[in-house]
Symmetry: C2
Subunit: 238 residues, 2 copies
């Protein structure tokens, strides 16, 4: 397949994100320790997030509101104003933390941009994602920046249509099998999976490791070589 | 000027929005009545919103977090978990309320689409705006839907560039002088101002009523005629 357009995920592919959420959840658990233990808090928070997803969508503001709702529920309304205020601060810190690029990102993007068009495709909060893209200093290398509410086959279809590229000319690089890889393989495109050291449970998915249009690499540094190999093979992996 | 592309704002131009925020703020004031009076609450909430705008951006989730933060501040931390829970519910209702089109919108859009390309240009929360656009049943009539974080001259410049239209071929219809009219006039485009019965104080702006490329109409029903008149005059209003 001739890879014309390369899509790149942002959070946990270009810069750190989930690590900040995990740290926030640690501090949140400490705050609620007088009432409930950590495992119970994690399970309850995830349940609230799932329930709220269709109203809040993805992102740190919805996550913060879900933390507040869960804290009130788990403490039977006993959690005090000062603790809630701290939860709001946790949310602000998540939204405001500096963007830290993963190792090797700038060089890898430079390599990938040689002979390919690049698109940044990320989901979540529009304002927060735009802020991070601006702060990353990477915006210029992308032909398109697409901030979307869900990364499914429909969304990728729309993005490819707008870019004038067939799925067989598209390769997506990202850390989430569910959001970055699975829908793209489904459409007929290729994927390079770069796992991050932690994955949000809602991003888990089962994908056949032996799929002919899927490569898995340890670090984004190895992504350009993986794309070259995908480009050197037939559309069906032959 | 020959109007090629017509931009339409969404909240309070195509469907009701600010009215829901005002009603929410009424209920919020009642909740805090044991501690503070209504005027003080309004002033403090606006102050919190202004301060948080650069972290939260626009939209109902940031507004809800600002309501929570303000409630804790105004009550010296005394506000209880059950009241905070109600504030979270207010936010969810804002995000989840049915889309109610303003009178005459469907007919006006049909008229406007004759001989013009239409773009929906709205700011705020990506997930919420997409949900409302889907629920409105109006998406099909728009060639482009642009959900942006701020409606300034730069943003309009980018949208026009992507659409391949010169500012002199663009007319924006909306209820906010600050977001819909002023930056478009500044670029050299035209504006049709359709005031909504309430305006969020942060959308206030001074615009010269006598500007040659500005029309003000009472209702969106009168917008197609206003666009026709703008189209019949020279670029500089002669």
């Amino acid at each position: 397949m001739a890879v014309e357009l390369i899509g790149l995920d942002a959070d946990d592919t270009l810069w750190h994100s989930e690590g900040h959420y995990e740290m926030t959840q640690e501090r949140y658990s400490e705050l609620l320790a007088p009432w409930v233990d950590k495992d119970e808090i994690s399970a309850a928070l995830l349940e609230t997030e799932r329930r709220n997803l269709k109203i809040f969508g993805y992102g740190a503001k919805g996550f913060t509101l879900s933390m507040i709702e869960t804290a009130i529920g788990l403490t039977g309304g006993e959690v005090d104003g000062r603790r809630i205020e701290q939860i709001v601060s946790f949310g602000k810190e998540l939204l405001d933390h500096p963007v830290e690029l993963l190792d090797g990102v700038a060089k890898a993007l430079e390599d990938l941009s040689t002979g390919h068009r690049l698109a940044l495709i990320t989901k979540g909060d529009l304002f927060h994602q735009e802020s991070k893209i601006a702060a990353s200093g990477l915006a210029e290398i992308f032909e398109r920046v697409e901030i979307v509410t869900e990364k499914d086959a429909d969304t990728y279809g729309r993005v490819l249509n707008a870019a004038g590229v067939e799925p067989t000319g598209f390769c997506m690089i990202g850390n989430s099998l569910r959001s970055d890889i699975s829908p793209v393989l489904e459409l007929g495109g290729a994927g390079v999976h770069v796992p991050y050291h932690v994955t949000w449970v809602m991003e888990h998915a089962e994908v056949d490791d032996a799929h002919p249009r899927l490569r898995r690499v340890e670090s984004i540094t190895d992504a350009p070589e993986a794309v070259r190999r995908l480009g050197a093979q037939g559309v069906n992996g032959a």
